[in-house]
Symmetry: C2
Subunit: 136 residues, 2 copies
Amino acid sequence: MVFITPHHVGVSVADLEASIAWYERMLGFTLDERVEIAAIPARIAFLKRGAFRIELFEVAGAAPLPDDRRAPNKDLRTHGTKHLAFSTPDVPALVKDLKARGADVAMEAIIQGNPVAFVRDNTGNLIEFVTEAAFQ
Amino acid sequence: MVFITPHHVGVSVADLEASIAWYERMLGFTLDERVEIAAIPARIAFLKRGAFRIELFEVAGAAPLPDDRRAPNKDLRTHGTKHLAFSTPDVPALVKDLKARGADVAMEAIIQGNPVAFVRDNTGNLIEFVTEAAFQ
């Protein structure tokens, strides 16, 4: 049996400083560590919230997010790792709060009787919000 | 302050049943729930390990994983949500074990003195392994 625990999701972004600020302001992450990896090359920031991290990469000259990755259902029509999702007690209340603070809401839906929402970060990356009981 | 906890990462795969089997066999996830969402349309499986889930989507006719998404550094040269990463106490030992069980290893490296590895799932999606102390 392997021993593993979720550690982070890597996200390639357009502007590292703007993205650090977005995740801090919108989702309450805090900057944990900065790294530079010459082999990519990339400027990296690990953001932390509890035991989980988001690893932001800024790669000079990187291609922009493909347009279909901005829409939850279209994004799934190409294989790959897609959205990161968080559980929150009240999805509509959180979305209302994020909207009031300027977040870009991509989708609000009721799936199997439960509210689900997708928000785009400042690069356009999709982040989903669900209520955990929906899937238990 | 928003209240959120990591819930899942969504992954679009080529063959739902083969991917369920891969994540069960290689990483010890268990099938938690199956869902069909007609609006995408997709067949979905939630796999669970502790409090964290992977949501596998099979979308008929989906495009294959872009080639550059199979290589960790190339993958970062397009903006977007990229690899899911797990912490494990001994990365080389885990990689050795996964290799022996047929896993496709994309990269083994020492980054800032710490072993890091990327493995591809059966669709080609990158999964990273680190040791948490590396980033604390």
